[in-house]
């Protein structure tokens, strides 16, 4: 049988329609489409895709089950290694991981592993989720700080091992960046809710509105728990520290997205939290968060939504899929452009942004060509809303209130890559709080690793 050269396409909302709503853009595969795509998998004897997956899913195995239309079994295989497949199937950068090393990809398009993962997870949700067996209770208690991807993974894994797990979440909804950061049109909140319910069904308790470092410190948690895992993410937004940046109408991406996603400001006034529905919106940055913000602005009714990025299209860290979607939707890209100051009106609102043109010089430490300003090239762009999406650093609340925890140069918690152990006995950490802002799946990978060593530690008591 001749192999299809291209992935089976996934149908999606048309750009001119989807910018008018917050519904998810792709619809997902039908059973027929999934089986057809699954038939493209070469079932390699030594599958490189498994090594490309941070949580080591048995990819050819679950795809084989799809091919055999044994979707329930496919779901079981997925869930063995991944508590959150519906999320990973949507937001993982597969093109950098499993699909990057897919053997089929050497000649043709790689097998659509992400789309198949999503299909299986959604199929299971529709048909009824099966709760895996958990080990008998060990009597050990673990506190997990933060309910983002790292926290949910570590909690799910430890619960399966028979430990008693309590997640402490600062916000009023569980999910961390999955609920406050990633927009509804990319990751529906009902799906996050579903995955959280799954983790709870494993026996994990979730305590909301509990700010570790304030409500109780890590040291106080250690009195009640055998171990503590810190997965509090990269919650401190960066600004550029340029003149006028505190004007009204200038947001951090965290604020802009939190208003819209967590607080549902797009439904104002039915929901109480407002957000500015700017007509001319400039988003600073070239990552996924910048794409999310620019596409959110369109859905809030912007006439012009612009990405302002200091390097070129090739250098943008966002997933190519997200860049293409933003382009399709009409986001305007201003490359090699750097804001230098903001001009405000008499009421303190941002009205213009002064930018300078850049050129690319030598390759820098990030492996990308360094942007250099062109003197005298300043020009102005009229704007009424600005979203600063240039990155964020680890949340300082726990580093500041936990003596004995070694902190790195960027405010990150120092933890062993292979175990998640910090410099403080009984305390583990993983995800963005350790690495700085990265991806959902890397945080989950760190959670998986930490769960193994927490299990060892609480059972043996050996640090």
């Amino acid at each position: 049988m001749k192999i299809r050269e291209k992935k089976v396409p996934m149908s999606e909302q048309l750009p001119q329609e989807r910018i008018k709503n917050f519904n998810e853009v792709p619809f997902g595969y039908t059973e027929e489409e999934a089986v057809l795509e699954a038939s493209r998998c070469l079932s390699c004897k030594k599958p490189p895709c498994v090594g490309g997956c941070p949580v080591e899913i048995d990819i050819p195995d679950f795809i084989a089950k799809i091919r055999e239309r044994k979707f329930r079994e496919a779901a079981r295989i997925l869930k063995e290694k991944n508590c959150l497949p519906a999320i990973c199937g949507r937001v993982c950068p597969q093109e950098e991981q499993c699909e990057k090393v897919c053997v089929l990809g050497k000649k043709f398009e790689p097998c659509a592993i992400g789309r198949l993962e999503r299909f299986v997870a959604d199929w299971e949700a529709k048909e009824g989720i099966e709760i895996p067996k958990v080990e008998k209770p060990t009597g050990k208690r673990v506190a997990v700080v933060g309910s983002g991807p790292a926290g949910l993974t570590v909690a799910g894994d430890l619960a399966k091992m028979g430990h008693e797990v309590v997640i402490f979440e600062a916000l009023h909804k569980p999910g961390g960046v999955l609920v406050y950061g990633i927009p509804e049109f990319r990751l529906p909140k009902a799906i996050v809710q579903r995955e959280v319910e799954f983790v709870k069904a494993l026996g994990v308790k979730v305590v909301l509105n509990f700010v570790v470092g304030k409500t109780k410190t890590v040291d106080e948690l250690l009195l009640d728990f055998d171990a503590v895992f810190v997965g509090t993410g990269a919650g401190l937004p960066w600004f550029m520290n340029i003149p006028g940046e505190n004007a009204s109408g200038i947001y951090s991406a965290n604020e802009y997205l939190t208003r819209v996603n967590l607080m549902k400001a797009y439904l104002f006034p039915e929901y109480d939290t407002p957000v500015i529905r700017g007509k001319r919106v400039a988003v600073i940055g070239g990552g996924n968060v910048a794409m999310d913000s620019a596409r959110t602005a369109l859905r809030l009714g912007a006439e012009k939504s612009m990405i302002i990025y200091r390097r070129g299209r090739e250098e943008m860290p966002a997933r190519i899929e997200e860049i293409i979607r933003a382009e399709e939707e009409g986001v305007e890209f201003h490359f090699l452009t750097l804001p230098v100051r903001y001009i405000t009106d008499e009421k303190g609102w941002v009205s213009e942004m002064e930018c300078i043109k850049m050129t690319l010089g030598e390759v820098d430490s990030s492996g990308r060509r360094r942007p250099i300003p062109c003197p005298g090239s300043e020009f102005r762009i009229p704007v009424d809303t600005v979203v600063c999406a240039i990155g964020q650093s680890p949340n300082p609340l726990i580093p500041q209130t936990t003596p004995g925890l070694e902190i790195g140069r960027h405010g990150n918690i120092i933890a062993d890559e292979k175990t998640g152990k910090t410099t403080k006995k009984g305390v583990f950490a993983g995800g963005d709080i350790v690495t700085g802002a990265a991806t959902v799946i890397l945080a989950m990978g760190a959670g998986r690793i930490a769960a193994r060593s927490i299990d060892e530690y609480v059972k043996s008591g050996i640090w």
């Binding site: 600062a170 916000l171 009023h172 406050y180 909301l208 509105n209 509990f210 700010v211 304030k214 409500t215 109780k216 919650g235 401190l236 937004p237 600004f239 520290n241 940046e245 505190n246 004007a247 009204s248 109408g249 947001y251 951090s252 965290n254 604020e255 939190t258 208003r259 607080m263 549902k264 439904l267 104002f268 006034p269 039915e270 929901y271 109480d272 939290t273 407002p274 500015i276 009421k347 303190g348 949340n395 300082p396 609340l397």
Partner: protein, 276 residues
């Protein structure tokens, strides 16, 4: 969920709740605040803690009904549950022996200054209290603040009670008399804190103000509460809410507070129409 144990009307449009939260009551220190939310559609509202009693797990909050959310909050009764109640947030006040300390509360700011004064008294400071309001019936906390103070003054804008004028006028009286003052703490509306800070600057008296910018998560994540202090950007929720009053950019604070004026009006009108 946190249950409202007691509700009291302190003045027209100013309410007091005693809320049950053992965790927060055990931890709260003067100057810290809570964030609450009352419904699934609700916004997150920061409110300073007026008092905390660890022994009965009670947290006292006092608020003025200004917008939709605070008006809706005011409709809750004893026995009702507040959906989300989180804290204590922010850095606590600096409580030390300073000497002669003037504590100034304007409007609902009097509720916020109360726990700070109580703690400063314990440290042996000589306390001069000044509280003010637009008119007598809006003046709150006098019964509790006055007994704490070695000297006490009340002011009303309309002269219906105490000294006619602003709290800053009462402070100016003291300064003109040549009163020795080591520290001033002023909590209240932006124009009042600005007036006090301007006044004490010329006398070189260290002055602390407690800022009330718009907040969202209130844990340092969003940056909406950014304020400028000495030319540097700070997040009031984690770096504050108290700052050196001589260094605060009050103009910026006032303009950022007005960001959602239009939306706040829409929300309030819609709410009142729904009720009427």
């Amino acid at each position: 969920m946190a249950r409202i144990l007691k509700k009291k009307i302190l003045a027209p449009g100013i309410k007091e709740f005693i809320v049950h939260s053992s965790l927060i009551a055990q931890k709260a220190l003067p100057g810290q605040f809570v964030v609450l939310r009352i419904s699934e559609e609700g916004e997150r509202i920061p409110l300073t803690i007026a008092e905390a009693s660890p022994e009965d797990g009670a947290v006292r909050i006092i608020f003025q009904e200004v917008g939709k959310s605070t008006k809706q909050l005011a409709l809750l009764e004893e026995g009702d549950e507040i959906l989300d109640f989180v804290g204590p947030l922010g850095k606590p006040s600096e409580i030390e022996f300073f000497g002669n300390v003037v504590g100034i509360g304007g409007g609902v700011g009097s509720a916020v200054i109360y726990p700070v004064l109580k703690a400063l008294k314990k440290k042996g400071n000589y306390l001069i209290g000044i509280i003010g309001a637009r008119t007598h019936k809006l003046l709150i906390m006098e019964d509790e603040i006055k007994p704490l103070c070695d000297e006490f003054y009340a002011t009303t804008d309309d002269g219906s009670y105490g000294r006619k004028g602003f709290v800053s006028d009462a402070l100016f009286d003291l300064l003109k008399e040549g009163k020795k003052i080591e520290r001033v703490i002023a909590i209240g509306p932006v124009p009042m804190m600005r007036a006090v800070a301007n006044l004490t600057k010329s006398y070189n008296i260290p002055t602390i103000v407690s800022l009330n910018p718009i907040m969202l998560d209130a844990t340092g994540m969003c940056g909406v509460c950014r304020v400028e202090v000495g030319g540097e950007t700070k997040f009031a929720c984690v770096d504050g809410p108290e700052f050196d009053g001589h260094k605060v950019n009050f103009d910026l604070l006032a303009s950022r507070l007005a960001t959602y004026q239009v939306e706040e009006r829409i929300s309030l009108e819609r709410f009142e129409k729904g009720r009427g």
